[in-house]
Amino acid sequence: MLDLILKENKILSDQYSLLILTSNEKLPDILPGQFAEVRVDGSPTTFLRRPISVHYVDYELNELWLLIQIKGDGTKQLANMAVGESINLLIPLGNSFSEPTDKDARVLLVGGGCGVAPLLYLGAHLKKSGHEVNFLLGARSKTDLIELCEYERIGNVFATTEDGSYGERGFVTQHSLLNDSTFNFIYTCGPTPMMKAVARYALKTNANCEVSLENTMACGIGACLCCVTDTTEGHVCVCTEGPVFNITKLKWQI
């Protein structure tokens, strides 16, 4: 358990806040794909922790970034925290995305909505390992595509919006990039229908594909068995066996 201090609260839109947390002590080692269970104090209707994926870790500045999408009272409370306030986290939790062993492997990171969050830190890791990073980010509208400049610092950014206000019009799986290029490793996080469509594309093109699931959780540490997903090994906890799963392990009707 860790108490961090809110260093900056960047309100990105009426739906998204970027919390930049820090500590006097060195942050623990955190891998891309891992998440935090964030305690929320003072929420009127919720009392469980919120599972929030790690958006980015800057070890030089000793900063942990969490991207908060306001979904209900719990996330609203988090998104409106004031600089200097303390936040209690269980971190790092869960497994992580795997890196291709082949340095020439072509990688694609596909995110939709708030599912883009863990891809930034993953992209930074892959770039550090020498991969050319391609992001394909989808949203309803331009205003929902947040912090594109951060992704652009790491790799090539392709985008789709449902209303055509930015990038190509349509869903991520309709982007022309997918017809023009092939990829060996595809990582995805976002709404389940989107991840399933990405998984279908990956299977069709023989790409390795990992998805990050966002099942509803209580404990985050494998005790309550609430967040299970059905796999080839039966029901397993997303919080401890995941959140990252290879699509071949999931019992998805793709």
Partner: protein, 303 residues
Amino acid sequence: MANLNINIGKLQLKNPVMTASGTFGYGSEYSDFLDLSRIGGIIVKGTTIRARQGNPYPRMAETPAGMLNAVGLQNKGVDYFISHIYPTVKDIDTNIIVNVSGSTIEEYVETAEKLNALDNIPAIELNISCPNVKEGGMAFGTSCLSAAQVVKAVRRAYEKEMIVKLSPNVTDISEIALAVEGEGADSVSLINTLLGMAIDAEKRKPVLSTITGGLSGPAVKPIALRMVWQVARAVKIPVIGLGGIMNAADAIEFLLAGATAIQIGTANFIDPTVTIKVIDGINEYLDRHNFQSVTDIIGALDI
């Protein structure tokens, strides 16, 4: 420092704080956060004769001051417990108690028999109150006759401390408590979760895959406290109180109502170290009120 030792029948506890089944895994999930040996007792996940996959996702719905769960006794079965889990928990310096469930009386008996042979499992908690399984579970705990039958059968096969966990989803919980006491239960624990439901109005769908589930958390505490008080006055055997205990003050209320020990459940999900805080808080309360022993406040409600 007051004396926190208590006895529940044959069971000796270093303090009255235990963890509720299904909220603390097998203990190891929490060992990064606290010293497990400080807890009075750890009641591990509901165990059945054969492995169970539990219910489909979604299994959890958060509600104001509570949560509904519909896990449905997912576990790998008693043989797996004996071969894989028991060796890892048997040397923890606390009482490791196994929660036992089944679909038939024979399944309860067979599971209890297997656990009776384990030296370092001093007790079982007979779960006749799980609301999330189609057969057995709560069905046994909601009538005096079936509750008595299952307790009687297990009593013949199990020699050590038998705690019977009661369902609040009944008209008169004292009647059920008396029925199981009459068949040889050494103690009762209450309450299991209250049957509840959540609906997603936008989708016009139930939130849980099972439609209904068990409510726990602070929302149920006043009901749990009332039932503990009623049962403690009705039976002679020790009562273990649980239901929405979030802190030491809550735990003390249950002790005052007549519980000899308490269990902490849902609160573990919010603060994995809550058990230790409750133990320390009870101690602080006893010192502040000049009580020598925690037994001084059991049932000490001033009416």
